[in-house]
């Protein structure tokens, strides 16, 4: 049986950052990275741009093989985990081989969540999580968009998260007629506050996208090459292309019987340790605790996956500079039809007390929209459409719980310069 000091399962953002952190402290330990894919690692975030054709599929690898070689890492493709034996520190792979580990990182990410809709399994639908998914969708999208002389087909996107909205835009740009169906009351729920979402939605409607929020699909049935969807109001939509973008679920199938606790993701402590000895987890596979300690959505955020990967890697290698992971903060940068929307942190909850403060500018149809959310004079969230600021600085101000009450007006007026000036002083 092969044995490595470190085994990293998964080669996306969390796994790769953990690798970097391990090597930064332990130059000699043996490391294996097991990737279930058959190609160099690719970020899910870049896939919409593959669909749109902006990215060539051979120019998106996060790392080249020579990088793994330079790090003296045994990088293996098509190596999927089948079972984990934590008592004996062994991993069984899908091909039956076993690998022993000194320390193990679970960074297997997430897979598309398929909602329980009647008839969905009987029709052809797309998801967007892997490069294969993206290539398939790219090919179909151009077909649906229609050749000359044939009417453009209709594409239906289930879910108005970032994946769904990106795909909807791509499909519109390709020439398709597009409908987006979202169960919750706004587009990009959990990413943007209602007012920002309304602006984004308005731009999509303006581009001819049918946006149905607060609606459910009750049934799907085949119709020729495509399908027919029945909505909760009883009305129907025909689709030549159906994309299911209803969120993700952690990839944990191989953890059955391992004793590792999974509750909507692998449960970890502040150093990304699971309940099992010498097993860490990071990235989308983890149930990310919210920095705010409330029900604010957390996890599924790329920079968060990187932070978790770094924390896990430092913890695994015993790096004395290790700091506890502070918890997830929602953080999104979203470009759509030439506009830019940014969000960091949380919105004020319903029925808030006097310690909360919400400042808004551009509420009524102005060019730009910005909302600041403060609690006890400290930044909780900032949401903007076509207002530039540095999300990384806002993130830091939230994590440090910096008192900004006295600067609230300048922050609202010019969030980029005001936050930069404040942060510049804090770095000294």
């Amino acid at each position: 049986m092969e044995q490595f000091d470190y085994v990293v399962l998964g080669a996306s953002h969390a796994g790769l950052e953990a690798l970097r952190a391990i090597r930064a402290h332990d130059a000699d330990g043996s490391i294996a990275v097991l990737d279930r894919e058959a190609r160099l690692p690719v970020s899910p975030t870049v896939l919409p741009y593959v669909v749109s054709g902006k990215c060539a599929e051979d120019r998106i690898a996060l790392r080249e093989r020579r990088w793994f070689d330079a790090q003296r890492v045994d990088y293996r493709q098509q190596a999927a985990a089948a079972a984990l034996d934590t008592a004996n520190a062994r991993l069984r792979l899908a091909d039956g081989r076993e690998i022993g580990y000194g320390k193990l990182l679970l960074a297997t990410g997430a897979a598309p969540a398929i909602p329980p809709i009647e008839g969905l399994s009987d029709v052809r639908y797309h998801v967007l999580r892997t490069l294969d998914d993206a290539l398939a969708l790219r090919d179909v999208a151009s077909e649906v968009a229609g050749e000359a002389g044939r009417a453009a087909g209709r594409a239906i996107v289930l879910g108005a998260g970032l994946v769904g909205m990106h795909a909807a835009e791509n499909l519109v740009r390709a020439g398709a007629r597009v409908t987006v169906v979202e169960m919750r009351g706004q587009v990009l729920p959990g990413y943007f506050d209602a007012a920002a979402a309304a602006r984004i939605e308005a731009v999509f409607r303006d581009k001819g996208v049918e946006v149905l929020t607060g609606r459910r699909v009750e049934q799907v049935a085949p119709r020729g090459e495509g399908c027919t969807l029945r909505l909760d109001g009883g009305e129907a939509r025909d689709a030549d292309l159906l994309l299911v973008a209803a969120g993700v679920r952690p990839e944990v199938s191989y953890l059955a019987g391992s004793g590792i606790a999974v509750e909507r993701g692998v449960v970890v402590d502040a150093f990304m340790r699971t309940a099992a000895p010498n097993v860490w987890a990071a990235g989308d596979v983890v149930r990310t605790p919210s920095f705010f300690g409330d029900g604010t959505p957390a996890g599924g955020i790329l920079p968060d996956a990187v932070e978790q990967g770094r924390t896990a890697g430092m913890s695994m290698a015993g790096d004395p500079a290790l700091q506890p992971y502070p918890g997830g903060v929602s953080l999104n940068t979203y470009g759509f039809f030439g506009h830019r929307a940014l969000s960091v942190g949380r919105d004020a909850p319903e029925g808030t007390g006097p310690e909360w403060e919400v400042l808004v500018r551009g509420e009524e149809g102005g060019d730009a929209y910005l909302k600041l959310v403060l609690r006890d004079g400290r930044l909780q969230g900032i949401f903007g459409v076509d207002v530039l600021f540095d999300p990384g600085i806002m993130w830091e101000l939230i994590l440090r719980r910096v008192e900004i009450g006295a600067r609230r007006d300048v922050l609202l007026e010019n969030p980029q310069d005001a936050a930069r000036a404040l942060m510049s002083g804090l770095w000294r």
């Binding site: 953002h13 790769l16 950052e17 970097r20 930064a24 970020s43 899910p44 975030t45 870049v46 741009y49 902006k54 990215c55 120019r59 998106i60 690898a61 996060l62 790392r63 790329l302 920079p303 990187v306 770094r310 953080l331 940068t333 470009g335 830019r340 940014l342 960091v344 530039l388 540095d390 999300p391 990384g392 600085i393 993130w395 830091e396 006295a406 600067r407 300048v410 980029q416 310069d417 005001a418 936050a419 930069r420 000036a421 404040l422 942060m423 510049s424 002083g425 770095w427 000294r428």
Partner: protein, 460 residues
């Protein structure tokens, strides 16, 4: 990965004139509009100071870690480079940066960041206030990194001690053509002479008595010279081996103008043997032999100023240095090495002792820096031809208490003792100022008048 030069910003000197932004915009933007500058000077009215947003060319750039398209990467030149072809304009890099160093430019239609103008940053050139500095110390580290490390990989210093840094960097530069003397103290204790019959370094090394280091080096240097070999005679000694027990041989060799490079690593006491006082120990400091009790309040005498004493010997070269100011240290090491070809060169390095002075092991460099910034340890340089010059401005020091409060050995000080130390620091600074103020006139030396080549040269 190589270290990278950085553009340093001094808020105290910035008056917000914006010349840096104009220079950047005209160098980098399409239309010269300062809105497109990659360095942003911003005002914090609340705090009343100017701030900066600029790429730091981080060692482990988070903008690159979070980039889903591998469009950002730190190159071999140290610059975090942006690849237009790969960038998908997702702006996630702007979430990874906490310095405002990479941001979307509406005019360019994508993110922009500083690339340090291929080694001549225009913003720095344009800054007439001295608020921006192009710090190239990293280049020195890189160059030093290429020199051979002549000590064994493992030296057994206390955690956080800067002596290993001093030893390795010194011997790297001085090079293999060296005979090294390390008298009793922390340096042989750390393993310079080796253990168990194995050498601790790749050059001939010996372990003189505390008293005779400079005498033995004198003989070795002269004998090599007689045989026609030009080797560097190097001492790495503590303050006891240099200034107390070792002083008579040191003074004699300096006065004779022996061609020796003598490096004193001053941790202000006999720290290797349990932190006893030395002549270099500060007034009021706790040591094992100057305890704190009902009547005893630490050391009752002021430290002697060993580097000044050495200067009055009329050495070729005398300088003080600190590991918080490595560029300065490197420059002085260079000068000292060169001077040791002509005569006696003495380099005095401040070495805060994490265990003996009682401060956290992570703060060594910070303690060293504060010592300099409070004028507790003044950096200066003496060349026989030019006299004494101050290496940095000492007119506006931080309060001495900023330094004292960092160290456990001063925790017991009463106001009278603090006042005594403050007075002593001010007096020493005044003396140095006056010495530095005596500018030599053409063909005339003021500070010291050693007669030329009084050294007895046995070869002649």
């Amino acid at each position: 990965m190589s270290a990278t030069p950085t553009i340093a910003f001094d808020a105290e000197r910035c008056d917000g004139c914006g010349d840096c932004m104009s220079a950047c915009a005209s160098a980098k933007s399409t239309d010269g509009n300062t809105a497109q500058s990659r360095i942003r000077i911003v005002r914090d009215d609340e705090a009343g100071h100017w701030g900066v947003a600029l790429c730091r060319q981080c060692g482990d750039p988070r903008c690159a870690s979070v980039c889903p398209a591998a469009a950002l990467a730190k190159g071999d030149d140290g610059i975090v480079a942006w690849d237009a072809e790969r960038c998908v304009n997702c702006l996630i890099c702007t979430a990874g940066c906490t310095f405002g160093g990479i941001a979307f430019s509406a005019d360019e239609g994508h993110v922009v960041k500083c690339d340090q103008c291929a080694g001549t940053p225009q913003c720095v050139t344009a800054c007439t206030r001295g608020a921006l500095r192009y710090v190239t110390a990293a280049k020195l580290y890189n160059r030093w990194g290429e020199l051979e490390d002549l000590f064994v990989p493992g030296l057994g210093g206390c955690q956080g001690c800067n002596t290993e840094l001093i030893m390795r960097h010194t011997l790297r530069r001085v090079g293999p053509n060296t005979v090294l003397a390390t008298p009793p103290g922390c340096i042989p204790g750390m393993g310079s002479v080796g253990y168990n019959g194995m050498l601790g370094c790749k050059v001939p090394v010996f372990h003189p008595l505390l008293t005779n280091t400079a005498s033995m080096l004198t003989g070795i240097r002269r004998q090599h010279k007689r045989k026609g070999r030009n080797v560097t005679a190097l001492a790495l000694a503590g303050d006891g081996g240099a200034g107390d027990v070792g002083f008579q041989s040191l003074s004699g060799a300096a006065e004779r103008g022996e061609q020796i490079l003598f490096v004193c690593v001053d941790n202000e006491g006999y720290m290797n043997t349990g932190a006893q006082r030395s002549g270099s120990t500060t007034y009021g400091a706790w040591t094992a032999t100057t305890p704190i009790g009902d009547s005893a309040r630490g050391k009752a005498q002021d430290a002697k100023n060993l580097p000044l004493l050495m200067m009055w010997h009329g050495c070729e070269y005398v300088a003080t240095a600190s590991t918080a100011f490595m560029e300065d240290f490197y420059a002085k090491l260079e000068a000292a090495l060169e001077a040791s070809e002509r005569g006696f060169a003495y380099l005095h390095l401040y070495s805060p002792c994490t265990s003996g002075w009682r401060f956290p092991s992570a703060s060594n460099i910070e303690v060293a820096r504060t010592a300099v910034e409070t004028n507790f340890a003044v950096l200066w340089e003496y060349r026989r031809e030019q006299g004494l010059t101050l290496s940095r401005d000492i007119d506006d020091p931080l309060p001495v208490t900023d330094y004292l409060k960092l160290l456990g050995k001063f925790r017991h000080l009463d106001p009278a003792q603090i006042a005594h130390i403050e007075r002593h620091v001010a007096e020493q600074a005044q003396v140095l100022c006056e010495l530095a103020g005596m500018q030599p006139r053409e063909g005339e030396r003021i500070v010291c008048h050693p007669s030329d080549s009084m050294a007895v040269d046995l070869d002649q």
